[in-house]
Amino acid sequence: MIESFITSFRLKNTYRVNSIIYSIKQFPIIKRILPNSLYKNKGLKIFANIISILIEILSIFVGKLIYIASMIFAVLSFYETNQTDTFLHIFLFLTLCGGVLNTYMLNPTKDKYYAIVIMNMDARKYGLSNYYYQLLKLVIGFLPFTILFGMITKTPLWIQLALPFFVVAIKLIVMNYSLYDFNKNQKAKNENLPTKFVWSFVAICLLAAYGLPAINITINQTIFLCIFVFTLILGIYSLLKIHNFKDYRKMYKQVLTITNVYAVENNSGTQAMKNTSLKQIELDKNYTSNKSGFAYFHELFVKRHRKILTKAVKKQSIIILAIFIAVVIGINVNVDFKEKTNDILMQYLPYFVFIMYAINRSSSVTQAMFMNCDHSMLTYRIYRTPKVILGLFKERLKTLIIINLLPSTLIGLGLAILLYLSGGTENPLNYMVLFVSIIAMSIFFSVHYLVMYYLLQPYNVNTEMRSSTYKVVQAITYFVCYYMIQIQLPTLSFGITVIAFCIAYSLISLIIAYKYAPKTFKLRV
């Protein structure tokens, strides 16, 4: 079993090391400095190995720290109940949730798929050894933080030490139940598609975790002790059952199908993403087009993708209207609220950069454009002639801008009206600036995403995202917008700056796109 574990660990590590090297290689500058076969480069390999080990270690601790800190500790102050008991209470119920949602063993991940399906390793040895390793990581990862937060909340030492084992025991019990269920029905459940029953259970636990303390009900240490002893006994019994279970191979055969595995690893454009994109296509015989050439082509694309295009913005618009009406009512019934609103409109325009970023559809639309259209069309040489590329670019730009303008216009108008209703402003220019800057931001994001897509075309033939530059640009966009949340600036000056920036950026980037897109817009190989 230990041998099996070491082999599988090596396998996972090799895979991770290669991915790390691959990502490093994707940066254009580094690619030029280190052009030769990087996978063989010793120094780099060692470096990647160190990173890989760091990732493994971080994965043990960081998640647990964030989990306890944000899901439990951060909310404690909201309740008036005893801190120790509340901590214990939330921890217990969240553990039940986590127990049924993630068993580790049944999670269809790529490394399991490689090892068991492709490399044909012994499923029982592989499954069990990795399972035990995961449980060990759980204990090691939780212990420092149950002690740390336990001390802060004045939880007794024995509970601090017991909690990680409690988590493990719950996992074991759930796992044992899954095996029992499999034995009975000969059907393994994909834990990433929880049943209605599981969802209801999770909902009840969440409600119990966060709801009960609000009405002054929590468990106490005695109750925990009883539950703990009980689960511990059941856990040990489960462990024995799990250890002696024979049919792992059969079970994994059912769990580790290609679709399941890809559904888990869908972080960056894989088959699963392609499949979801395909689902967006709707055929409606009534929608045709009487245009011709790429205008025809594009119009059909838009009409077949209403779900992610027009329907999505219509939904957004309705929500925006609802919020608008709610705020109007708020202004009329509460003076405090009215003043606050006015203040926000005059000082918090930067916040709306983030909102405009968040509601802009362009990123998912360009993704669908690739998955459902350009991915196949780019192989036709005729599709890559400057005439077609730029013609289609123009059509797409128009569509993106118009689509995003619908909710944006509502927001812009809404803000101007709210400013008026909430007491107005001395400088009437503010109304204009508020409206125009929102429109400018909307156009900016549309242009930005489309230009980036055409200049960096980040996907390869297998619809995988293969451009670090594109990822970096995305990340920067996000962080800049996110940073704006914390800034307060007078609407007038900030708005005018934003408008100027958006116009300048859009013009420059469009010129660049026109010049270079015919060269850059192709499939990555």
Partner: protein, 232 residues
């Protein structure tokens, strides 16, 4: 008209896939491109289609002794994996392609005539391409490339996924259109290559070589090809 390839090189990092390709492909012939798995056939096509940047060398078209650059309109490429826009129906896809190639199509037929030609059933013509089978998608891909009538047709293992009836008709069709085109055809099926192609070209160790048939009969010619493929 000739397609001339001179000293073409393509490496993937240190791996030299195409070392030094020198060849002249002539109009009116079907070239059968044979090579072991991983020999670089697809890579060679990708280079000609400018999907990949080449590392050295050049390729161009020679028309009446005049050298000119290969344009997008000159080339049609049918990939081994089918690539069709899945949000269109077959009919719409054809219409789009005819639209953007209008100027160069000589005897334009109606869309249904093209479907008839490709044996695509009446009831399938207005279905979304995403619901087409592998072979049907390949048919569409082939059809579109034939309609747009490029001077050079690159076919990467094209007939493998066609049913026997269609494959036979495709072969006939390729023979008919070959007078006006340069057709390069990669395949792993020896019989197909011998049956259809006028010249057999072998890609081995990064070099492209013609195998002369001379006066050999088919059996001996086969042996010669296999020997050539085995050379390390």
């Amino acid at each position: 008209m000739k397609l001339v390839v001179k000293n073409l090189k393509k490496n993937f990092e240190k791996k030299e896939v195409l070392k030094d390709i020198n060849f002249e492909f002539e109009k009116g012939k079907i070239y059968g491109l044979l090579g072991r798995n991983g020999a670089g056939k697809t890579t060679f096509f990708n280079c000609l289609n400018e999907d990949l940047e080449i590392d050295a060398g050049e390729f161009y078209i020679e028309d009446n002794e005049k050298k000119r650059k290969m344009e997008a309109e000159d080339i049609g490429y049918v990939l081994s994996t089918p690539n069709v826009p899945e949000f269109l129906t077959a009919r719409e896809f054809l219409k789009f392609f005819i639209d953007i190639n209008k100027k160069r199509i000589k005897d334009l037929k109606t869309i249904d005539e093209y479907f008839d030609f490709m044996k695509i059933e009446q009831e399938d013509r207005d279905r979304l391409l995403k619901d087409y089978s592998h072979g049907m998608k390949n048919k569409m891909q082939m059809l579109v490339n034939i309609i747009s009538n490029p001077n050079i047709l690159l076919l990467d293992e094209p007939l493998t996924s066609f049913d026997v009836v269609v494959a036979e008709e495709m072969k006939q069709m390729l023979r008919e259109i070959k007078k006006k085109h340069i057709i390069i055809f990669s395949t792993h099926i020896m019989e197909l290559a011998l049956d259809l192609c006028d010249e057999i070209v072998i890609l081995n160790r990064g070099i492209l070589e013609e195998v002369d048939k001379n006066n050999l009969d088919n059996e001996h010619f086969k042996d010669k090809i296999i020997e050539a493929l085995k050379e390390q």
